[in-house]
Symmetry: D2
Subunit: 343 residues, 4 copies
């Protein structure tokens, strides 16, 4: 059986794991004040060309989203997000649990349009009863999106302007950021992300770490008391250096990009194989998540040897499926998959 279910099926990339083993017995102070974490913060800031940013490491995505959003919003505000956004669909109401509404915008392959943001805000304030409604207080987007798609630099600049023109911050969920940055079609850099957003995070869990997300705060007016906020959300790791060690490793000698590139290359080969065979690409993703519409008998046949997820309910004659590559995916596995596809 070869696995394409998701990108968090294995542990850490061997180089990351090796550093955790090397540093395992060392004693450091807790809660992220250790020297590994301090150095990792510097490396992340350098990678972002954002020397004045503040960087914090959290364990997982849902806790990061709810901590940041709860910390940024005022009590009467909600967060704008694509209807398909992770915070709106797959976090068990973690945002609402902190008291805030998710205000949904149409999803275009997982992306939101700047025009929709502008319209939402202008409609909101032109409604006489707006003070009885939830005010849009920030915008949440993901890069890549939940469908593996990417914003172009132009789109991101437009979104950033739409937000800042309205006085609300832009927050980018980068749980799979690496896979977006290295995509062939991508023209956005980490420095662009840092420059255009107010706060974002660089995902580790899905990109080579055991776990961990690096939150980068570039807007100095936001999240002025991050430590008690993180602690209150149960997201302050006692052995904080575990996060420091991992991000130090990922941002040394370009490992984060190296892992991302290898993973996306596998995804591209996989996509080409499905396309060559004539199957329909459901969402045109340039990153490590690929969505196809396959005849049900093909699905069933593949399932004998390959593990992957159905995307939504099984259709009458064909169904949408998702294939994801990760740091463990080998060229040999892709060869094998291509073989199965062409059988």
């Amino acid at each position: 059986m070869i696995y394409f279910d998701t990108d968090y099926m294995a542990g850490a990339h061997p180089k990351v794991m090796e550093r955790l083993v090397q540093t395992n017995a060392e004693q450091t102070i807790g809660y992220g004040s250790d020297h590994y974490t301090l150095r990792a913060k510097e490396l992340v800031k350098q990678a972002c060309s954002a020397p004045d940013a503040r960087v914090y490491f959290l364990v997982g995505g849902t806790q990061t989203n709810s901590t940041v959003i709860d910390g940024v919003l005022e009590r009467h505000e909600g967060v704008l997000a694509a209807e398909s956004g992770h915070i709106n669909v797959h976090e068990s109401g973690a945002i609402e649990a902190t008291g805030h509404k998710v205000l949904t915008l149409p999803s275009h392959g997982g992306k939101v349009k700047a025009e929709d943001v502008r319209n939402f805000i202008s409609n909101f304030y032109s409604d006489d009863t707006y003070e009885h409604m939830v005010a849009p207080g920030m915008l949440y987007i993901s890069f890549p999106t939940e469908y593996g798609t990417l914003y172009s630099l132009k789109e991101l600049e437009d979104l950033s302007e739409a937000c800042h023109g309205a006085g609300i911050p832009l927050f980018i969920d980068g749980a799979r950021l690496g896979y977006g940055l290295v995509a062939k079609e991508n023209d956005v850099t980490l420095a662009d992300i840092a420059r255009l957003s107010d706060v974002f995070y660089i995902g580790g869990t899905k990109v080579g770490a055991l776990f961990g997300e690096a939150v980068v705060i570039t807007n100095p007016d936001l999240l002025k008391h991050p430590v008690p906020l993180i602690k209150q959300h149960g997201a302050l790791m006692a052995k904080g250096r575990l996060l420091g060690v991992q991000f130090e490793s990922l941002f040394t000698d370009g490992l984060y990009y190296e892992i991302s590139r290898e993973v996306v290359q596998k995804a591209v080969r996989l996509k080409e194989a499905f396309v060559a065979k004539g199957y329909t690409v459901e969402v045109d993703s340039p990153t490590n998540q690929q969505f196809f519409r396959l005849p049900n008998d093909v699905v069933d046949k593949l399932k004998e040897n390959v593990s992957f997820e159905m995307w939504g309910p099984r259709g009458e004659t064909e169904s949408v499926v998702r294939f994801v590559t990760g740091w463990t995916t080998t060229d040999a596995e892709i060869d094998k998959l291509i073989e199965y596809i062409n059988q």
Copy 2:
């Protein structure tokens, strides 16, 4: 100027006001343990043919909705509601502020379909990732809806069955309940409401009281500790007897129905006048809220002598407007309005 903006523009119906004046100097214990409140509870239960129900009086609708919904739901649950539902649109995120997501269903003139409820729930539990999603924990509907429309008895029975079949309670927001109960097209009684829902409220604020909503809990398993819950939500009135006096008055000699009938009769006359003149009925409402689509010059002309709300943004050539009647609306005012319409 004559006013059709809304049904909470004046104080209390004279009979209610008279009782408040009569009882004003009397001293009673606070927080709703007084004899007026106890008697009002009995009268409400009788009116609902629900001798075992528990009745509590709160000041306003938003606080009632958030107190009930927060008290009924478990932490991981959300409340199903029409996209147009008051709790989803016009309560400044009061539900989310208690930690719960509003799960939206399509609005059909303000109403939800039992079929949509069933589909939502069955899709939810057939999704492999449902434990990462917000579970539907109750259904909120309004009767009449925000558009003045009504559920038929058959529809209400179907909704009740859809809820109870799935093990979730049905909550009915009756902020304008009286106007629904007396409508000519209506075949639902207060006893039906009590029998088919698990908790609902009888609106006073918009139906003759100075303020006040009577929450009726018919499901004994729900809201087992209402008093501290109400207090915690800032909704326990010190001089609770003000609510008791008003509801005692409203449910003595059928005053609640009498007020409702008079108000709806005025609305029907008003509607007929617009229809007779050939204007389009935007939503076909049998209650005290009426929605028309009028040419903009008609809107402007009427505005010179009549106060009413635009419903949504002004259109290019015509716009949707809302006319609402209340206990102060007189036949003379309707005559006058008809005159303006026919000028």
Copy 3:
């Protein structure tokens, strides 16, 4: 039976009630934008010598406390209060329900000491682990306190300085404010309250209104979006003008002070009678709440003709009791009580 249980046992002072009746049929727009409310706001600001303050009217004390405190605090902050503070004891956890801890200070007859505030804050920030603790984000005091006691002007200035020196706002719960302002021992004016605090409220419910609390925000940096905040807390009254009419009435021709003075005079006569008889004053209160320690047989004897509250559990031989006067209390009732005391 004569009643001294509390000061919210009857309706509104006749002059207030009269205005509600006079204005009852008038139609105004809702939610506090009507002309009565606008005028009441002006009168309140004049009474406070605070022309730049913002004024909002809410229905009751608990909702006012939780709305203000939730709106002022950041997520990681708590509110300092006397251990005996109403928000800490008798609001069913309304503050915590908004996500904030009540940080308790010793109670000295219901009052907190500036020194304790300063020590709490300095100890907090000198603790190495303070980022894992709840930061003091504001101070809540009541004037008069829950025990009827008052801060002197000097004490209030000292508290104000302790707060502002530490960069935290001072919030004064004035549910019984009038009774404090008119007390013989008092040297604090409404203008002092407005000048020394950042936000406070003038209680109506217990001082002649049917219900209502006037929140006065003097610090322009606080509570920048009060309307959606109030709405979200379920505290925005549909017929907002009911609050406007009442406060307009209370702040016309000094009615608020007139009511307060009469009520406190009765309390003083009552206190003198107990003292003259040789009974122990439990808390030395100059306002309308009086606390005595009485032999149990005296308690039992009085209970035959007089209604009042036990304050805490009944003791072996003597018990603490509370007597409260209100706008309905007459000199004849005090005479009668004195008679019973001296029997």
Copy 4:
């Protein structure tokens, strides 16, 4: 420099780390449905002699406390805890952030007395205004406590009875559980803990794991929907098997006890050395945290070679300090420390 600051200064015990390395490349499904987690759950249940318990693994203590407490309490309830309890002092208000008050009881060396629990509850319900107060909904204790102290079996039985007699559950924070179970003075077994409480957790972070807490729910009526609750609190680990692998390792061949015993033995040697030298034991702890009152010059001298925490502010002539042993502490380090003490 030798370190006695705390027990989370290093990574995982070598045997645990080894298993993480061995299993690193294996692909499993996420969120704790993998075979390692399933097996770890079985091992934990066996170790607890609680075959019907439900077991869930979370990353850290604060998130575990807030998830469990928020999941157990009803909206109007609070959690009883020692004033010194971690949830009351050092979790940045995480409990209040979920909407619940911490109701404090006196701390006796970190412990609460069953008598105090009984009195609190009986006083609560005998107060006429109890519906305006926060109801005690559960009891939180820690074993060992924040001061390293332990409840005897008798005390634990008494507490359990006090809770269950009042119909409230008992929750035990076992962040350092192993160190309590192996202490010479201890007469409580893991099976006793499971039998006497309703929910508790076995700490991994401080007892040999990289991170991780095993929540054991023995009361079938509690926490019926743990997965969405955990997810909502941001505490559901994507690579859940990391927790499974670690707890499988800790509960294979008694490793958890073995680590605990070694750590406590070092602490006992350390304590004996201080006692032998005549220094005052501040809290008499039989576990891995030791508290002494030392002359300031001794403190300063030791600080040159040894790292440890001050416990509270430095005194005039002497200060309280804390020494903690962990899995990295060696006998050689203790020898060295003894040398420094005796210099």
